[in-house]
Amino acid sequence: MSQPESAVADAQAGGRSGQEPLAKLAKRYGLRRAIARPRFPVYLRQLWERRHFILTYATSRNVSKYSRSALGQLWQVLTPLLNAAIYYVMFGLILGGKDDIENYPAFLLTGMFVFTFTQRTVSAGARSISGNLSMIRALHFPRASLPLAYTIQELQQLAFSMGVLLVIVMITGETPTWFWLMIPVVLVLQTLFNIGAGLVVARLGAQMRDLNQLLPFITRTWLYASGVFFSIQDKVVGSADLPQWVANAMYLNPAASYIEWMREILISTHNPELGHHPPTMVLVSCVFWAVFALGFGFWYFWRSEERYGRG
């Protein structure tokens, strides 16, 4: 390449940018920025158009997840059962929790299974963006599809564990009542909350890699604060002699609220004076967290939509 040609090119380049910036040229031909965040309603519509992908992706992940283990899909049931067994031995037998609470196995298992649903969704959500960077850098889709798919994957698993839970609860002596029809309502509210929480931690996990290290620590604390294996009222106000508002605040945390409502439905000896109805405070908390987390989660996740590929 000879010098004069390069000089010509330089001159042309200078002249060109002086005449018309490329941004204007793009505008005149109706070209749009390759990476731009759609408006929020448009974004939600795009997400709806991707529902088949979200569902297929969730199902595929569930199928492939257990394809290498001998027991396969059975692990969906075994994992929560094993966990519950450990907690039963630990807190029920050794620490004597079962003496204070009637029908302790049902109490513990309900708490365990409901909490696990939220905990697993949040943990999976935190990895949904940071663990799929190669896909985000290769394909176009609303990024919220990933945390959503992870939530649906956990929901599919929940279907198994709920079946197990109902069987065990009946074995422990509970009889099905009409109130059991409220179970799907609680699960829908909890799922809405989980979707929102998953979206929030997905963005946090994408921007702060250390969140994955921190998360087990957070969920463990959350587990203890949600009264999965003890009654918040008895321990906080009864044994620890703390003021009532501390217990109320703990009941208002979303996981505790969903657990509490589910226990009212399933266990007849749990606050028998309420007769399977949740306390108003718990009911309000369940609805509030579902609506708030869902709305905030989508909005918060969407705000960073175009930046997830950066890693």
Partner: protein
């Protein structure tokens, strides 16, 4: 509109007079004036304007940092970056305009920013500075990342098609075509982990090329498969190029680029070193 047409015609008009002028040399970042001779139309489809891409790479964690919740918490609270985190300036000020009907080859050494540039054009990596403007949605040819090795070819075809944004009706319509094109026959019932690397590559190419794209970006897709399949995929690329707008092709096999492309961009360390006629750029690239 009229202005540009005039401008373009001027550019085109004076080109034949100076042979080899459509090749230019670094550091000029301005390809606008230099068009290859056999370009069908002059409508720009992709405009890359002084593009800079910076992305983060995480090094291996030191022993003292691994999995310690307290350390992580301290760092989060202090808002410190991970000490091992490096920022890589992969694309440093690239500018060019691609037109309808262009097939642009991108060559360069490993790590010269080719794949990063493609991802930025596709709108998958946010620019650090500058901008990419496109007509319609450019798509990267490659659904590899969405596929799962443990699943059967059948499930992967469906998953891949949905990942590219097809509707269920489109998936049903394209399914048989994908199986036929890939030539994997009854293997479609088996998990992809049992496929030979060639079969896997064929299926992936068949899935990704099932969708029509306005602007198509291909990253090393032709390098795999046997000779027969290679011919088939080259024909498919030509077909896509004819029906669609613009094709970008990254490949290390320069012969493929020379046969498929009408323009070649040579990237070197994140900057355009040369941009123009395939023969001349490739000759210069081979020399350098």
């Amino acid at each position: 509109m009229a202005e540009l047409t005039k401008e373009l015609s001027q550019v085109k008009g004076d080109k034949p007079a100076v042979p080899g002028k459509d090749v230019k040399v670094h550091p000029t970042p301005e390809p606008q004036g230099k068009r290859p001779l056999d370009v069908p139309t002059g409508t720009p489809t992709v405009i890359v304007d002084d593009l800079h891409i910076v992305y983060r790479v995480y090094g291996a964690a030191a022993e003292s940092e691994k999995g310690n919740a307290v350390n992580a918490l301290t760092r989060l609270l202090k808002r410190q970056a991970r000490p091992q985190m490096k920022e890589v300036h992969a694309v440093k000020g690239v500018t060019f305009v691609a037109y309808h009907g262009d097939a642009i080859g991108i060559v360069g050494r490993n790590g010269s920013g080719k794949s990063t540039l493609l991802r930025a054009i596709a709108g998958l990596l946010p620019p650090h500075k500058g901008a990419v403007y496109t007509d319609g949605q450019p798509s990267l040819l490659g659904v590899n990342a969405a596929l799962m090795r443990e699943l059967t070819g059948e499930r992967n075809i469906v998953l891949g098609c949905y990942a590219m944004g097809m509707t269920p009706a489109e998936v049903r319509e394209k399914y048989q075509e994908i199986v036929d094109f890939s030539g994997i026959d009854e293997f479609v019932q088996l998990p992809m982990s049992t496929y030979s690397s060639g079969m896997g590559a064929r299926l992936r190419f068949a899935i990704s090329s099932a969708k029509t794209h306005d602007v198509l970006l291909i990253d090393e897709a032709l390098a795999t498969g046997d000779r027969e399949f290679r011919k088939k995929s080259e024909a498919r690329i030509r077909q896509i190029r004819e029906s669609a707008g613009t094709v970008f092709l990254v490949a290390h096999d320069l012969r493929v680029i020379e046969q498929t492309c009408n323009r070649v961009i040579w990237l070197h360390k994140g900057k355009i070193k040369m941009d123009g006629d395939p023969k001349e750029v490739i000759a210069a690239y081979n020399k350098g």
